[in-house]
């Protein structure tokens, strides 16, 4: 009897196991997950559709993110942030859940493959060094160069980890005219205005130099480090190595693709655009190479050029934190979905870089994400009203022009930029404050 009942118990027990297994496969309680994102349709097509397919009991509802709205997030479980300063603000306001312990638990899963570039950047937004957001993609920059031009003029092509000083020097070795009589430049840019000034500012940013302080709006230019950059850059400008005319077409300037420019900075999508340009205009595709963006000589293995513009975090007010986490995990690391997304010519580099699709028959694109991330990025546009930054630049460019023409010394120019630049910034700030007052 004892024997029998124990067998019975085993049987009952095993049927219970089956029962629970059976229940697990039954639909779970349906829930609706609200996600803020800039485009309702784009988010659903990129992530929501695949997620609902994988988790049929969770419905994704997108709350369109409008930065001008007083309450852009409404009651979203997942908050969208378009850059690191906004992520920092949300963390400081206590709106986001720390994800660090969840990440630790998932260290050995796909999430463990997340590029350190992305985790470094995301962690930099919190003073405690924890992760409060994830980003399925990031943006990087590389230096693209025209292999044929380098070969033609017998110049050794640039290598990974070059500094701006080397790049400017390299640019000066090209003649001002090509063999076809057309103008030839060592460096082309995608700036729309204040082109030469922006070349200098970018070289400074690479080394972590700031020229306008975000809180006090104090302008700084008259320093030893800035003077060094001005000196080597001005030499290159005077030699005509940099395409700097105001009539430049900015981001649409095709001169790199037509072989009139030897080097240019570009992002992930640039590589594709070279191919597309050749196809669209039925011209020969240029023979391009790619290296890391210019580095800070003090830290040659790190770059300040990485950004994240598609950050998602879990609202502390969410009633569905587990499901929200599932979605974040899915967005960043679901292999099938990332592959499907890549078909859409995604706008950034997948945060798990092994999903990066190689460009057929061409150089590997890894220099775009080869360097480690330096989150200390003094780009004033991220935090200061662009109108103020532009006001400063508009004052500084004519002063730089005088130096290039030889009408002014670099020393005098640096002092003048600080003085007149500060005045322009102060005037613009007053103007904006007045405009912000209620009428």
């Amino acid at each position: 009897m004892r024997f029998k009942s124990s067998r019975l118990l085993i049987l009952l027990f095993s049927s219970l196991i089956i029962l629970s297994g059976c229940l697990n496969s039954k639909p779970e309680k349906p829930i609706v997950l609200k996600v803020s994102a800039p485009s309702v349709q784009q988010f659903y097509r990129d992530y929501g559709y695949g997620f609902e397919k994988k988790y049929p009991h969770i419905q994704v509802q997108v709350v369109p993110y409008d930065s001008k709205s007083v309450d852009p997030y409404q009651d979203a479980d997942i908050r969208y942030m378009y850059n690191l300063p906004l992520l920092r603000q949300q963390i400081e306001q206590g709106q986001l859940l720390s994800l660090s312990s969840r990440f630790q638990k998932e260290e050995n899963s796909e999430l463990g493959k997340l590029s350190p570039i992305v985790t470094t950047l995301l962690k930099s937004a919190a003073d405690n060094g924890e992760m409060y957001g994830v980003s399925p993609t990031f943006q990087g920059v590389a230096l693209f160069y025209n292999k044929d031009l380098f070969k033609q003029y017998g110049i050794a092509p640039p290598a990974n980890g070059a500094a701006w000083k080397d790049i400017f020097a390299l640019a000066m070795r090209f003649p001002n005219k090509g063999t076809d009589g057309q103008p030839l430049y060592g460096i082309g840019t995608n700036y729309y205005r204040n082109i030469t000034l922006n070349c200098i500012l970018e070289a400074g940013r690479t080394e972590g130099l700031s020229y306008i302080q975000p809180q006090t709006l104090k302008v700084t230019m008259n320093t030893e480090k800035w003077r060094t950059i001005w000196n080597y850059a001005i030499e290159a400008f005077r030699s005509g190595a940099i395409k700097g005319e105001e009539e430049s077409l900015g981001g649409n300037d095709p001169s790199f693709m037509t072989g009139q420019v030897a080097m240019t900075l570009g992002g992930f999508s640039s590589a594709y655009s070279f191919e597309e340009y050749a196809e669209m205009f039925k011209v020969k595709r240029i023979n391009w190479g790619i290296i890391t963006p210019p580095v800070d000589p003090g830290q040659p293995d790190r770059s300040r050029s990485y950004t994240v513009d598609e950050i998602f975090g879990i609202s502390t007010a969410s009633m569905h934190q587990e499901e929200a986490w599932k979605l974040l995990e899915f967005i960043v690391s679901d292999a099938e979905n990332i592959r499907n997304r890549a078909n859409y010519r995604s706008q950034g580099i997948p945060s798990i870089t092994e999903y990066m699709q190689p460009l057929s028959n061409w150089d590997d694109l890894s220099p775009i994400y080869k360097l480690q991330a330096n989150p200390d990025n003094p780009n004033p546009y991220l935090v200061i009203d662009p109108k103020i930054v532009t006001a400063l630049q508009d004052v500084a460019q004519p002063i730089l022009d005088q130096v290039i023409r030889g009408d002014k010394t670099v020393e005098a120019a640096l002092a003048e930029v600080e003085l007149k630049g500060q005045q322009a910034v102060d005037v613009k700030r007053m103007e904006l404050q007045k405009g912000a007052l209620p009428k």
Partner: protein, 412 residues
Amino acid sequence: MFMCALILFSAFVTGCNSPKAVPLIDKDDITLNIGYLSEEAFEQRYANILQREYPKLRVNIIPMKELIRGEVTVQQWVKSHSVDLLYIPDHLFESFIDSGQIRQLDAYIDRDSYSLDDRVPEAIELTKLYGTGKIYGLPPTFTGRALAYNKDLFDQYNVSYPKDGMSWNELITLSQRFPQGLSITDRTPWDWVQDMGMTLNLQLYNKTSRTVTFNSPSWLKVWESAIEPLRNNKVWFDDINKNPFRTGERAMTIISSDQLRRLEEGQLGFKWDLVTMPVNPAQPDVTANLFADGFYAVTQTSSNPDDAWEVMRFLLSDRVAKWVYGDWYGFTTLADQLGINAEEKKHRAVFHRLRPVLPNYDVLPDSLRGLAIQTLDQLLAGSDPITESSLTDLQQKAEALLRSDKSSGKEK
């Protein structure tokens, strides 16, 4: 007790493994032909969602352009194209039903217990009107029109807000209370006059008998209502792109469903709301302003109607509704997806608040339309009140034109 456990045990096992037909997603070698305006149009709307949902399924889009343009008849088109699933624009839906080219879906709906409860009931009623009670096709979206009004202007002029189900005459009276009462952006003055008559179910033209009715006492009343507000600028016919309602100049405007989002996202700087289109006071709960962009239907000739029906159900699902998001094709017929917050839901509800009726008139031939426009223009240029004789004159000219068209063999 032991037996009891065994029975329970086996019940669980079978419960877990109830046999089911192979779902389409796992089937190999299935090809479906889908009739749609064009391949580009299908791609534009759905991108690659069918490939993602059914990776093994082969889909061919069969363009329906020539049929939609009226270059061939339904029978001719069906004869030369082999299709399983169709997206039929509303103006062709009746012909497909009448010619017996599409399957009645009621049996499929019953067999699969496919619920229509989550649909906008008025959209289901619309398809049943076409099918005289039966369902031959299901619309993924519906379109319509509504009256938007500027609450701030109504408050300022101390006029009580418009209501659902007003008559056209009530709306015209309301428009007289404002310097700039009503803006119409999708009609000409004559179309508007015609609209008002149609709302009252007035007969105008009959294609089969080739008869026209311009001069009935009821039509005279419609013309009378229209002339005064047109003459004293209470009703404005505005450029849809300028749309002075949005700048706060006009008190009211008639919008179609595709214009709603522009109002919602326009940050207009005044409070506004929506009510239904004017109705026929004799039938205050119906409107001829509820339409479908198109109906999905399974063809009679399909050799694989079950899979066509499954893909059709997917194309009508909430996941596809979210994928297609936006009002380009109208509002989704899934009630739950109709707007993403309380305000959007409230606005969209107005568009299906009235029950649909099918238009029971034939389109006026261009020549007669020209005559009507001429008469209206002449009346508007003068200042005399409209009389029976103006319409009798129009009627006579129209009849003469119909007679001469007939004798010269010209068919419209």
